[in-house]
């Protein structure tokens, strides 16, 4: 009985390690970066809609956040500052609240002073389409609508400028 009790979970652990090693050999398939960014349309808190495909020809920075996320408030002043350094004709910024309610998300934006266009992913579809696991996460989308880079965790000013620079300078 002891063998069954302890053996099963331990076997699963060992099996998972072999599985992951196996997956590594197949990992020549493309990963998230450089893939086409899934199109979506989101209702903005300030009115109107943001449709990603309408912004082709511009660099797009999408920041996923939640009002209850411990570290999300840390990066909002940085995003706000950097967003004002680029012309809206060249770079579009968008904040998307996930796993959240409209009231809480709006209160979070007001408290942290983030004024870039923002909306709520009401159904969780955008989150799932982007394969999001954890917050905050920021996606950098090229003028051609491809995911150039994604950063999981709090962004720094240098990182934001570096990644946006790559998008803006690309021809």
């Amino acid at each position: 009985m002891k063998t069954i009790t302890y053996g099963f979970p331990l076997a699963l652990l060992l099996g998972s390690m072999l599985l992951v090693q196996g997956c590594n050999k197949e990992a020549a398939t493309p990963i998230t970066a450089k893939e086409a960014a899934p199109d979506f349309s989101i209702e903005l808190f300030g009115g109107g809609n943001f449709r990603l495909s309408d912004h082709k020809g511009k660099a797009v920075v999408i920041n996923f956040f939640a009002s209850w996320c411990v570290s999300c408030g840390e990066e909002t002043p940085i995003i706000e500052k950097v967003a004002h350094q680029y012309s809206p004709q060249k770079v579009a910024f968008l904040a998307i609240a996930v796993d959240d309610t409209e009231k809480k998300a709006k209160a979070f934006l007001q408290k942290t002073g983030l004024t870039i266009p923002a909306g709520l992913d009401k159904t969780g579809k955008i989150k799932d389409d982007y394969g999001l696991y954890g917050m905050p996460t920021t996606f950098f989308i090229s003028k051609e609508g491809k995911i150039n880079h994604l950063h999981a965790g709090v962004v720094t000013e240098d990182l934001l400028k570096h990644e946006i620079g790559k998008l803006v300078d690309a021809h």
């Binding site: 992951v20 209850w68 965790g153």
Partner: protein
């Protein structure tokens, strides 16, 4: 970053401000473990912690850390299959949690379930609960987890990132299991022991609420109001 640092990072995050995010799962795991153990106290004479609690903790750790780390390791093709089907998987997770809550309610009432109530069955259930919790979890990304996810999202370093994410998740899970066991020991020795059946049923209700929120897509309300309130 070494494996030991990742393990310690996960363990220490449990006892820090990051616990607020882990509260998406920690009260529910404690309710699950307490529920199955209190059901054991109600019908078994030999209800030692090592025999009845340790195997489900190991199984939970295996299920949770495996799927948690795979979901983080977006550079792995298998991880992408998981994230591509996450919506359906979350519904399945809700169904598993529903079954676990019903089990806790009925195990002392249905003789057939009582006979099946053995450590291997509880370990199997704990394994599925671990997988389910990993699927419904949205971790807050700590600075260390941010570094790990950076590795795990790149094709060339995905396995290294997965390994570190596994150890990070394992560290968090070990801390959670230790706290759950301590609470159960306290519960067993306190005056609350007189109301064990009521506490067991309360654990079932807590899991039932989680299953309902998960199946009805209402988890965001729990996260926004409960976690937001604490924050």
């Amino acid at each position: 970053m070494g494996g030991g640092a990742a393990l310690w990072g996960g363990f220490s995050s449990f006892f820090s401000i990051w616990q607020l995010c882990i509260m998406q799962i920690s009260p529910f795991f404690i309710a699950f473990l307490a529920g199955i153990y209190l059901a054991t106290l109600g019908q078994k004479e030999e209800a030692g912690i090592i025999k009845w609690i340790l195997p489900p903790c190991i199984a939970y750790a295996a299920g949770f850390t495996l799927f948690y780390s795979l979901l983080i390791a977006s550079g792995l093709s298998f991880s992408r299959t998981l994230t591509g089907n996450i919506g359906n998987l979350r519904i399945a997770a809700g169904a598993v949690i529903l079954l676990a809550s019903l089990y806790i309610f009925l195990v002392n009432r249905v003789p057939a379930l009582g006979k099946m109530h053995r450590p291997p069955l509880l370990s199997g259930l704990a394994l599925l609960i671990g997988v389910s919790f990993a699927l419904m979890y949205s971790p807050c990304i700590t600075p260390m987890l941010s570094d790990i996810m950076g590795l795990a999202s790149q094709r060339g370093t995905a396995v290294e990132g997965w390994y570190l994410a596994f150890l990070y998740g394992l560290g968090t899970t070990i801390a959670l299991c230790l706290v759950a066991v301590a609470l159960i020991l306290f519960l067993g020795k306190s005056k609350a022991a007189l109301r064990l059946a009521s506490i067991k049923n309360a654990c079932g209700v807590i899991l039932l609420c989680l299953a309902f929120m998960n199946l009805a897509g209402l988890m965001r309300h729990y996260k926004a109001f409960v976690l937001g309130f604490v924050l």
